[in-house]
């Protein structure tokens, strides 16, 4: 047997803390090593050629490369072996960059550790056997989880490329948070106007099957062959029969808070969350309705002409197979009642960003008039407090929620457009306008609409008669300031939604310290997850604005189609096998989704 050893300097990345020449020399004395070489960039074309020439010249059987993480270049070197007719799996990678040079500054110790790792690898290499890749079929359908703008875009893109797509949405309508927004920065497009055409398209696209009020409850299988269980909750109104005539509304005796309007307006127990909702059908809220178990009231059923109401609908479990999955489960606003000093939940006129969106919206509870919740008066001074929850690692969210600078600026500008003589004051830490035309939008708000910006955090928001007293600081003048406002809008931060957390746990997707789903690589694989065939889009991976969300959704769709478009997939040959005599069946491996072979074993 002849083993070739190749040590990479990686420029100075490895060479600065590992004596590469020394380990190359020492490696020559290891058993079976026929040749040992160092090169500045082993991954480069000349580096690969070096290995190829040696395979010919020395008749090498196996290769050991000491370089960076196998996640970077294992595939590169495997193809080198394949090109020369060797089995690609008789390659051993020793990670002396991430595991040695990057985490160590002592050259002697780094050299010693590298040599130890390399020695182990050479011995292991001698035991390696060729492996064959298996091929599996692909089911040519996709599952998109989450019907917000990310899920809508991903579903539309996959469907338009000709693949059957199932879009699963937990609530009664697709549209997500974007459907609640009034206008979008920086163009001030009406959110609903740009969203609803896409929603309608989802509804009528022949390749899209929309499952509203549905949740994914189990995911099994592997890339190209996922087996998914979806629980469909009852709507109690037959979607195809409901004509949206609204005859049921006046007769329903129950009044509940309208979630779409953030609880600022009432709705009935039978309702449609907003006129453009898709599926275009009423829904009965079983928690509010008096007709569902026990049956006390049937008023809506009595007046329903098309006989669309069915109090006896039951949840159903749908089992389907998919080739690829896109997770687009979105965000939830940070619970700003946690910031006690800002008074949300105790002071009536302190509202959240999303509350404000509904108040300023023409389809909202005040029909677009900016009226404060306590007494319905037009506020003369509105204070917008940025970073409500965000950038506060000690008590709240450690990260920047990315969209708040822009939406608070938009809120202030919208206020000034409606209340021309009003005063809009933003308290901010930094203004972050990193997006196309965002800086211009911010400058326009200040310059044309006279929105005032004060740099500094507000320390306390207090009720003072029918006004609100704000105590803050102006860090540019270095002075503490206080002022009275009639309404305060908190720029609520973004957190992973319940659905995001549930799906991450259900599918064993890695999450970051904040609970957002982790990308396979933050820069180069932003829509992949660590699990092949499962992709992510939108705010499930972290705070994101609409343009980024939509681009990511299209990216995820394109990656999904990369799988769906194949008739069969090659499955990695390095699979775990189970030694039945040792297995205690704790199923930790299955829970960790270690590999398909284990799942099959069980």
């Amino acid at each position: 047997m002849k083993i070739g050893v190749y040590v990479c300097e990686c420029g100075s990345n490895i060479a600065s803390t590992v004596d590469v020449d020394k380990i190359v020399e020492e490696a020559k004395d290891l058993p079976n090593v026929a040749v040992s070489r160092v090169y500045k960039y082993m991954c480069s074309d000349p580096g690969q050629e070096l290995i190829k020439n040696d395979i010919d010249e020395y008749n090498l059987d196996k290769i050991v490369v000491a370089a960076c993480s196998p996640r970077m270049h294992e595939a590169t070197f495997r193809s080198v072996l394949e090109d020369k007719g060797l089995n690609p799996y008789v390659l051993e990678i020793v990670n002396i960059r991430e595991h040695v040079s990057w985490v160590n500054s002592d050259k002697d110790k780094g050299t010693e550790k590298s040599m130890a790792l390399l020695t182990g690898a050479v011995y292991r290499s001698a035991l390696m056997k060729p492996l064959e890749r298996k091929k599996v079929g692909v089911i040519h359908t996709a599952l998109v989880i989450g019907g917000g703008i990310a899920g809508i875009q991903a579903a539309l893109d996959i469907a338009s490329m000709g693949y059957k797509t199932t879009l699963v949405e937990k609530t009664s309508s697709i549209g997500g948070k974007m459907s609640q927004l009034d206008k979008t920065f920086p163009t001030l497009d009406c959110s609903q106007c740009i969203l609803s055409p896409k929603m309608v398209e989802v509804n009528r696209h022949p390749n899209i099957k929309l499952l509203s009020l549905s949740e994914v409850v189990a995911v099994d299988g592997y890339v190209g062959n996922f087996k998914v269980k979806i629980k469909r909750n009852p709507r109690y109104v037959i979607e195809d029969k409901c004509t949206l005539c609204g005859d049921c509304l006046p007769v329903c005796p129950v009044i509940a808070h309208d979630e779409y309007n953030q609880g600022f307006s009432p709705r009935k127990a039978i309702y449609i969350s907003y006129p453009q909702a898709i599926p275009a059908s009423f829904i009965i809220d079983p928690d509010d309705c008096l007709g569902i178990n026990p049956l006390i009231c049937t008023k809506c059923k009595e007046v329903c002409g098309p006989e669309a109401i069915d109090f006896d609908m039951q949840p159903e479990i749908i089992e389907k197979e998919f080739g690829a999955i896109v997770v687009a489960t979105g965000y939830a606003p940070y619970p700003i009642e946690n910031i006690g000093e800002y008074g949300y939940g105790t002071i009536h006129d302190v509202i959240s960003g999303l509350d404000y969106e509904r108040i300023v919206s023409a389809s909202g509870p005040t029909e677009g008039k900016i009226l404060r919740p306590s007494d319905g008066k037009i506020p003369e001074t509105v204070v917008f407090i940025h970073c409500a929850g965000s950038r506060d690692p000690s008590k709240h969210l450690p990260y920047c929620s990315k969209i708040c600078c822009m939406y608070s600026t938009k809120h202030a500008l919208q206020y000034k457009h409606v209340v021309h003589n009003g005063t809009a004051i933003n308290f901010y830490i930094d203004i972050r306008t990193a997006g196309k035309d965002y800086e211009e939008f911010y400058q326009r708000a200040a310059e044309e609409d006279k929105v005032i910006y004060i740099r500094g955090k507000v320390s306390e928001v207090l009720e003072d008669g029918d006004q609100i007293l704000i105590k803050g600081v102006d860090t540019l003048s270095g002075e503490t300031v206080e002022l009275h406002a009639d309404m305060v809008v908190l720029a609520t931060g973004i957190t992973p939604s319940e659905g995001t957390k549930e799906m991450a746990s259900l599918m064993n997707l890695a999450v970051d310290i904040n609970g957002f789903i982790r990308e396979a690589h933050p820069k180069l694989k932003p829509v992949d997850t660590a699990i092949a065939g499962i992709f992510i889009a939108g705010t499930a991976t972290g705070p994101k604005d609409i343009p980024d969300t939509v681009s990511q959704a299209s990216g995820a769709a394109s990656k999904a189609c990369g799988i769906l478009s194949q008739d069969e997939l090659e499955i990695e040959a390095t699979v775990a096998i189970v030694d039945d005599s040792l297995c205690l069946e704790v199923v930790a491996c299955v829970l960790k989704r270690a590999h398909i072979a284990l799942l099959r074993c069980k």
Binding site: I425, Q443, A446, E447, I452, Y453, D474, E479, V481, L483
Partner: protein, 136 residues
Amino acid sequence: MSYGYIKIGSEEKAFIAKVEEISGQNVYSCYQCGKCSAGCAFSYKMDKTVNQFIHLIQLGQKERTLDANTHWICASCFTCTVRCPREIDVAALMEAVREISLRENPEKVRIADLPKESLEKLPNIALVSNFRKKTG
């Protein structure tokens, strides 16, 4: 530290409008980068730096603006105006505040009453300023 009270009512708005009218500048164009203060040769003599001074105008703090010595220290060298990334003629803002101050509170200085030693020491620009005060 006591809290400075911020109120942006009609008086404050009238002051902002007056500064903008005289100077022809939009004070809200300023995003407080501080380049004006950074480049001003006399920042160290000012009790409010140039950007702090503009910030006071943005908040309509007339009394505190006029109380500052910033606009009197300003020699109108235009370094700030030339360098401002938002194309604000900062020197014109200074001039506007000087105008407002002079119109409201003319402080007549009789050059002839100044002692000879002072006249010899005073820089020309100070004397020119004093002549302007006479026209206030």
